[in-house]
Symmetry: C2
Subunit: 244 residues, 2 copies
DNA sequence: CTCCCAATAATGTCTATACATAATCGGAAG
DNA sequence: CTTCCGATTATGTATAGACATTATTGGGAG
């Protein structure tokens, strides 16, 4: 015998997802569900407020609850960590630091990060290699004001992304995905052809409002794509991953 | 005075996100939090179980709760609806159906959708245009077994995606994002140049296990990118959108 | 010393109740 | 007829207590 909470929730979700209750349809009041399932109000309240948080219904005092308009479609993309992915698939991962310097940011970078122009940042370029084939080129800016210990780090054992993830928690991230044509130098680095379509993932992260890092990762298009899954109820299908 | 639930939750989230409680750190027991905040167990229990659902902590009976390992990074991408985006920005949106036919699917499509080869599907090609500039080319397969009424639909008022979204609820979706070079015919349709990098978004949706539709949407790379935001706690930064 | 079982400690679910808050409805006063 | 105010209704938050479930701990039997 399943728990009552799950049974009520499954029933209502099924009604909504099957289309039997279309958007705008009134959901039974809490006291009606109490009567139907013979339970207390706290139990049905927890069901309904959870559904509201997850966006399946909207609730208004006195007016009751109605099935929500189908939200704009979302996809949850899980960004791959190369080392972990390599361990999972049994391929050999390594990386090479191509450059490393401390430079003041230009106007465009200042705009993107919200920092004053001229702020000094650690700039690191990394090539990610699996089974001797270059898989991605990463250009990263690290805010030395937020992560001063990066100044002395050589990134010998771990690439900058992995190193940072273990050291600095983050509270907000912004992602941009684009398609660009590889220029000559990028093509050479990634062992592909000039003009080849590449996927560019830009990620900026902040910790409690303070800028942490910006990464621009370029994947050769014929070798990579991003995969994501989504179910409206967040019940388990919400994972996805970047697949080489 | 904020509600107690929010205060407790904010306190704990702050501790975790600031790094003061690193991954693996033990979270106070429910009875400790009861004592600290002078409230009942139901209140702290709701806080902790919500944090657990959102992945910030993991809970085990008898052992207590600990701060979770930072999950692999995720981005929530919100896929744009052209008509809605046009209404928001004040541009003129229109679309053109370039082709429409009923065809048996080939082996590759059967593999992707999980349907038997030879199943008849409605195939529709649509060009999305904003301010007279082509913005995206959409190739869509619609499962007539799941959506029989699509057979008689001419897609005069709404493009197939919008029409479907209003008619057929979906429970699961799969997204793939890739970068490809435009071939000659694609370049002509999108008024760009042969070889130009394009973002390709493939989406397949199911309703309770039954395949509904597959859409492959090609965006010229220089005109489009996808933007997403993410905060670990899902407290509000979870939205994002595709931006022309 | 090892194995097993009972006590214990923590979370998971549920109840019955209470008061607060917001929106709506209906009637009374103007 | 309109305006305003109270009554009503549904949800929002919180409490104290109960029993269930699960994992660990520790002690006793072999």
């Amino acid at each position: 015998m399943k728990h009552l909470y799950q049974r009520i929730r499954d029933d209502i979700e099924a009604k909504i997802m099957s289309g039997e209750w279309p958007p705008g349809h009134r959901v039974p009041f809490e006291h009606e569900l109490m009567a139907k399932y013979g339970c207390s109000r706290m139990t049905v309240n927890k069901v309904l407020s959870t559904l509201a948080v997850n966006g399946l219904i909207t609730r208004r005092r006195r007016a009751g609850s109605v099935v929500a308009e189908p939200s704009t479609r979302q996809a949850v993309l899980e960004i791959q960590d190369f080392a972990r992915e390599a361990a999972r698939t049994g391929t050999v991962y390594r990386f090479r630091i191509l450059s490393r310097s401390i430079e003041p940011i230009d106007a465009a970078a200042a705009q993107r990060t919200g920092l004053p122009p001229g702020t000094e940042m650690l700039c690191v370029s990394t090539l990610h290699i699996m089974d001797d084939v270059p898989q991605a080129f990463e250009q990263r800016l690290i805010n030395l004001a937020t992560v001063p210990e990066a100044d002395k780090e050589a990134f010998r054992d771990d690439p900058p992304g992995t190193w940072l993830l273990r050291r600095v928690p983050w509270t907000d991230a912004e992602h941009i995905v684009r398609a660009v044509n590889a220029d000559a130098s990028m093509a050479k680095r990634l062992q592909t052809q000039t003009g080849a379509a590449c996927l560019v993932l830009e990620r900026r992260t902040w910790q409690a409002g303070a800028f942490v890092t910006e990464a621009r990762i370029t994947y050769p298009g014929e070798r990579h794509h991003l995969v994501g899954h989504f179910s409206p109820s967040f019940k388990g299908g919400t994972v996805g991953q970047a697949v080489p």
